[in-house]
């Protein structure tokens, strides 16, 4: 387990083991609200399997990425609550 992956969540640096999903890195960064609903309610992951779309965040500038289905990669820039 020597290998570590470094990424940033809302500018905060997070270090994870390979195989960690972006949603988990967001939780490690202490964020609970992943996005806002169409009427502004805070939301976070629900299904954990890529279907509900509640865990969408911006990854490397690409919006609407499902953080529960995306693995962390070195240097990733993740933005929540966009």
């Amino acid at each position: 387990m020597a290998e570590r992956v470094q990424l940033r969540v809302n500018g905060k640096s997070v270090e994870v083991t390979p195989g960690t999903v972006v949603a988990a890195a967001i939780a490690m960064a202490g964020e609970s609200k992943f996005r806002r609903s169409v009427s502004g309610m805070p939301r976070g992951p629900l299904c954990g399997m890529g279907l509900c779309m509640e865990c969408r965040v911006t990854i490397n500038g690409l919006s609407q990425c499902r953080s529960c289905q995306t693995l962390c990669e070195p240097g990733m820039e993740v933005l929540t609550d966009d």
Binding site: V16, T17, G19, T20, V21, A23, A24, A25, A27, M28, S32, K33, F34, S37, V38, S39, M41, P42, R43, G44, P45, L46, C47, G48, M49, G50, L51, C52, M53, E54, R56, Q64, R66, C68, Q69, L71
Partner: protein
Amino acid sequence: MTEPRSRFDIVVVGAGPAGLAAACAAAEKGKRVAVVDDAPSPGGQIWKGEQSRLSIPQAQKWIERFRRSGATLLDRTAVIAAPEPGVLLAEHPEGAREIEWSKLIIATGARELFLPFPGWTLPGVMGPGGLQALVKGGWPIAGKRVVICGTGPLLLAVADGLKKQGATIAMIAEQAPMSRVAGFGFKTLRHPGKLVQGMGIFARLRGVPYRCGVWPVQANGGEQVNSVTLADGSNQWTEKCDLLACGFHLVPNVELPLAMGCELAGGCVRVDANQLTTVPDVYCSGEPTGIGGVDCALTEGQIAGYSAAGSDDQAAALSNERAGWHAFRLAMSNAFALREELKSLANPETTFCRCEDVAFGRVKAASGWREAKLLTRCGMGACQGRTCGAAAKFILGWGMESVRPPLLPARVGNLTRTNR
């Protein structure tokens, strides 16, 4: 790197237990087999991440057998449409994929059923299986206080998994009455494998309150859940929690079979003794044919794989084994049948469609699913009704008549190719 266009004798959609078993059976018979899955690694829901974790012997055995079988894995590839007979359109991070098949085996598994109640949209309220999957993906759970509620054996499996990772399970609240759950426990005696698994779990869960006949009525918190109000029909009380795991068992993923024209019976794909659907050359195995668990999925998968590869005798040899799992499947669905009270948890103001923020009162006022979609946009958002459609079926008795592509959420560029 996969090719934009490829062709195989047999294409399996889903790399869970059912899909892996089907692929092994067919590839070992010398067929050119591909398994397509949206996820980055094989294993489906129950064995998520097992290829690197090596903790479940049964998973190791099957993943290893799959590696040696010669079947190709097309991972991170979501099937989004079936544009013409013999062709699937899929989406990969590097672009669209067209996959041609002579025989197709659908093993798309199931998802959790979520029912709306006040506060269910708060961050920190998740499906038990969903939370388990996220924890397998590294979600920090150690030291967290979790209430697990809803229904089904999955609640116990998840409690066990989370506890092992250092979570405190404040309570498991099962909506089914004790009399039914106990009856189910007795029936599983006829399935020794399940029993051992069940006993192991129960021993490890010693000290965790397991209450039957209890269900959630409200999740509380401002920007995040901090407690849940539970009810047992005569009393209501509140339990503190950092996370609330709530799910009402599983519903089959039947979007692809529906798009292919396969007939359903009771919400599940209709299959014959060979796991063949009502559409020629299209087979189906595992949860889409009925919620039966991992062992049922493995047996049905092998039967489909052997049949598709033309080895009907090997398929037939597994039919007794399958009958046993089907008895287990029936016992499970009776034991964990949903109580009527769950239909009235949502208030008129409770969010029903989470993608479009449509309140339950507005949805209920519609005459049916189609009208609700047209008038309120319920089920028209990003998840395409995956969440609220299943809830509407249980609470309002509305069925979804048909599905439109994409079958999974797709990027716009690839979608233009689905309508030709």
